[in-house]
Symmetry: C4
Subunit: 191 residues, 4 copies
């Protein structure tokens, strides 16, 4: 079964997720620049979540580029990933409306952690379908980068109970780490 | 006439339906984990509806995969299916805001029932267009699974007047039954 | 220049227009079936607008099917059509919230009228680009059906100042007239 | 790496941006035409932003038409452009709710300025990837039109502190200047 519609549907869902977050940016009542001040934390949360969803779109793009066909399991593994990504606008809204309090930041990390697990499952399903000697399997390898991210999200969740700013700093650090698209696959395919 | 735009348009509409339901998940006012408690039934309803829309997308994907061309009737039969699917966010919202009361659960089942009828009509229109000896006709067969689902939705609606939890359990059971994508077509095409 | 992205972008915008109208269907506060009563006019308006947007998508599909390439003017003529279609959710909301009063029904007809004019302009731009002896030009012909629709919308607007129910009946009649997709092009291409 | 999914994802995001702005058009409470009066500035802002987003979609269409492949940097440069475009609904809402006051008009110009810078960066990344002797590089040239636009946005921002109507007039003038799609590339490719 071709991968075209899986890509098209994922593009649609991710495009909506990345864009509906902007609805949380409510136009301030005031007329002056100072009335923008309460919008700034909302905007910063939006930037962080925009980058995270952008990272997932980029990596999803790279991963499916290395795949020829998808089966029924891959459709569901992909929907599972989209489910966790679809919760990002919700946890972003809870986080920014509560000025980065501990519990919302822990939940934000929880959704990121589950999305990273869902991405790992999708990769495994695609690799099983493509074969252990496929370009995707070689490129994905042992996925140290993904494993480290998952551990850092867990660390961020733990930190959020103690110092929510530290937890947020960890999430920002992971985002920076992934900002560069998944060159493993790009490099591997070129060889 | 090619099926490309029918698929693309359906992907767009289904992607929006599956994603706007998350707008119903409103960020709680409170700052602690306990303020998430009232969100839990909303989240569970979202999961159920997400899976139902995902099932329809998967089956739609499989069915159109087995089709080469579409005619004007298929365009309308497809829009008819999308219409009933587009009501899922509305009935989900009514259901979760009223703590799974009887009438909302009956209406939820009613929309699922109509969507299953619309799916059946679309299948018939596509089969008539493809011919009785087409792979799609062979794969679709007598559609016992679809017929049983429609009967179970009707049973769930009846049950909702007596015990709304039982009705909900029936809908969950049907979702589990369909969770596996429509292997009839996948298997038939492979032979 | 290929028509692929014009179709994809139009599919995206039309999919969003047809789906965001469902956000107007607000879950009722009550728990019983009687609390659905005030939703019924909103639902009926949604059905009418859904069918209208569906008609435009079907006809757009047929028209672009008969075209090979698009130029810069066609991109803007297409955006012009999408602009008027994008106002349909707004006029639908005004109409259903005011129980089909005269002014909202007149405005609803005004947007339909402008959309029909925009569709005509798009057809002319595409025909000029394809040539007067193209299949599209032959299929489109003198476009009596489009001209009659535009006149009926104008009649509906005039009627809305006198009897809003009559105006609404005219819009419903035009929708029924177009319900069958544009067979002119389908037939012409088959010959 | 192919450009297909980059185009599809951009189409999705731009389609959503251009359409969710219409949600700002709230149906008036009143029943008569006079209750539409407060909607008019909102509608005019919508028209301006619709045209701006349409201009970006058209130019994006033309630019990517001249490109064969994209790399990881182009994916991020493209997301950067989409980020600034996604803020247009927010700044449009602030502008129209405050009757075109100075600060909202300055911010509107600021987002347009940043989008024009992001478009320039995307063009540079694509040209570096395609080579200095590529059709895109020849067509894009020194980009006087883009440079003048960026300067005019800056002028508009400065003017907004003195006379907000003048600033708005400058933005309208730039929109008119770009209304014609980027013929440089279209012409260059034809030769």
């Amino acid at each position: 079964m071709g991968k075209g519609r899986l890509e098209a549907f994922s593009d649609g869902v991710i495009a909506i997720i990345i864009t509906i977050m902007v609805l949380e940016l409510k136009a301030p009542q005031g007329i002056g620049f100072d009335s923008l001040l309460p919008v700034i934390p909302v905007l910063l949360s939006y930037v962080l979540s925009f980058i995270y969803v952008g990272i997932y779109w980029n990596n999803h793009h790279h991963m499916l580029h290395a795949v020829q066909t998808v089966n029924g399991s891959a459709l569901w593994a992909n929907l599972h990933l989209l489910f966790w990504l679809s919760l990002i606008p919700f946890v972003t809204a809870w986080m920014d409306e509560n000025h980065f309090a501990g519990a919302p930041i822990a939940l934000y990390g929880g959704v990121l952690l589950m999305a990273s697990v869902a991405y790992y499952i999708l990769a495994r399903v695609l690799i099983r379908n493509s074969g252990a000697d496929s370009p995707l399997a070689a490129a994905f390898g042992r996925d140290w980068k993904g494993l480290i991210s998952t551990l850092l999200y867990a660390l961020g969740i733990a930190a959020s109970f103690w110092n929510s700013k530290l937890a947020l700093a960890i999430y920002v650090a992971v985002a920076i780490m992934w900002f560069v698209p998944d060159r493993r696959i790009e490099t591997s395919l070129r060889d």
